[in-house]
Subunit: 335 residues, 2 copies
């Protein structure tokens, strides 16, 4: 690896690939000049689709004919060791890149990542973490679905990893950790959560432990690193997505239901667009599998080039923020 | 019990009680004339606060000096057998009322209910169910927090009870049941959910079983009876509440952030109010504890008189829809 930071990109995954992935790289390169890309996939297609605006010294193309299909099972997708996804992950394992990103098959990506990349010492399970807006800025939430059942040790690990991720992404802010629970009083929740609460209250730590957070307070900004098992986290995230989509579609329907409504919505278009922008899911695009010795970033399969470029920014912050070193350091402090 | 339908009301629970409870009764009585109220609480206060519009032959006041405080623990609140809450629940046990409602201490209400009222035969645990809007109408969702951990048998019971509640509230609609899960494919989720899926696919039933529903599809209207354990249900419900509150406050802030915005929002006020009305939580007020031989309705403590009157409508529909008989019938069909 030379002195540049290198992102390994699986160009062949997700809707509209490779074009949306390559356009995402192009958008990203407009505001960045110290990241180099290793792009894995069909060389012909990539050369045809990559923007002329991206200077040729910014990337290498590593050709392969094979790619993981979106409809493959995780196991099937991980079987072929010549897919663009496998090769991209392998390049991180071989230290030829600092981080890997794919918009392709989530299950296959995680299996391939776990097969190739070692766990960080003292961490039992990797977790899927994501960004979630709150009134003051952004939360890091994990686990979002990698582990259906989690032990006290897992949740403790997630607190360390979540804090490290938060500090890599937002270095000037203080990490405020809370456990997602069904009440804010100490006696609430199941045994695992209650035991984790006790541990987090007493261990030496580099974050503020704020106790429990209930679902209705995820977005108030009082806490910014939210810890939960993968089942609950996945349900919470998707319920929030569904609620947002329900409300915005009802709003649109009602605001434009008559002439006066349409007219005043046009006057207020600039504000309405600001609102849309604030809730734009492309801003929060990119789930991060952490716990392995290299982070693996999963872009949403249905996002567009702007969304993909935002996940490239997440990759950049993770590399430059030394996420893995931060986790190693903090985990050694606690155990 | 005479031929009228009777609702036992704990007048002393929740913010702004007894006035908001009594105003709720007054609003309800404007559109209903066959429900009689037994009102439990401080007679002096009740007589002073009840509207003259409510005819005296519509209610009895049962005086007691004692009431459960909002800050009491469930156990403390359930200790005194002379509180308005205890007496109201007891009147249902003694068949002096068809249903009981309180806006007071939730934990105490459930303990008092379980101490006084028997379980329906063959049902193992009562569940807390609630209404949740979807694009086409309304969902019934349970459990919302009564049982942190649930077995396959519990989830099966909840399906029967949820369907019976749905049919009592919306007799002309078909019940479409789904299990809340982190994926829609058959192999997803934990063992309990997968086993329940198998059972629900094969048992004789009076509802359509739609398999799994993910959090983002709770509000699409494809299903309308959603089954989950109390931990997950509580997190999902509160996350939806938090998301709705975040979005509407952002919308308000942005829409009125400048003169043009304020001006056009005034023009569009009628539509904006329609939007507010559609999302008005008072419409969905009232959680129902089902599984006992009499249903117990919990109004939100912080709702107002309109919200309370809406939960009285839920009580009315439950009585007239013969909820308990429906559950007994359907449970006998399945076991």
């Amino acid at each position: 690896m030379n002195n540049k930071f290198i992102i390994a990109v699986d160009a062949m995954g997700g809707e509209g690939s490779p074009k949306k992935v390559l356009d995402g790289i192009s958008i990203f390169c407009e505001k960045n000049n110290d990241i180099f890309f290793k792009i894995f996939g069909d060389k012909n297609l990539i050369e045809k689709n990559i923007s002329k605006k991206v200077n040729k010294d910014r990337y290498d193309i590593i050709h392969t004919d094979d790619f993981v299909k979106d409809e493959d099972s995780a196991f099937m997708g991980a079987k072929n060791k010549k897919t663009s996804m496998w090769l991209a992950v392998e390049s991180v394992k071989n230290k030829e890149a600092n981080i890997v990103i794919s918009a392709g098959n989530t299950g296959a990506l995680f299996v391939i990542a776990k097969l190739n990349i070692e766990m960080i010492d003292k961490i039992d399970k990797p977790a899927l973490s994501g960004l979630w807006p709150n009134k003051l800025g952004m939360n890091v939430v994990l686990d979002l679905g990698a582990n259906i059942e989690c032990s006290e040790k897992n949740l403790l690990d997630f607190s360390i990893m979540g804090t490290s991720l938060f500090k890599s992404l937002f270095p000037s802010e203080e990490a405020k950790v809370a456990l997602l629970n069904i009440g804010s009083e100490e006696g609430k929740g199941n045994e695992t959560i209650k035991n984790t609460y006790q541990r987090l209250s007493t261990v030496k730590k580099n974050f503020i432990f704020k106790g429990y957070v209930e679902g209705n307070n995820i977005m108030t900004g009082d806490v910014n690193v939210i810890i939960t098992d993968g089942f609950t986290g996945n349900i919470a995230l998707k319920t929030a997505e569904g609620t947002a989509s329900f409300i915005t579609s009802e709003l649109k329907k009602i605001l434009t239901s008559n002439f006066l409504g349409k007219f005043s919505s046009i006057i207020n278009m600039k504000n309405l667009n600001k609102f849309k922008d604030k809730l734009d899911p492309r801003k929060y695009n990119g789930a991060i599998l952490i716990g392995l010795k290299s982070p693996v970033v999963k872009s949403h399969g249905s996002t567009d080039s702007v969304g993909f470029s935002n996940s490239l920014s997440v990759c950049e912050k993770i590399i430059k923020g030394n996420l893995i070193d931060k986790i190693k350091e903090n985990i050694n402090d606690i155990y």
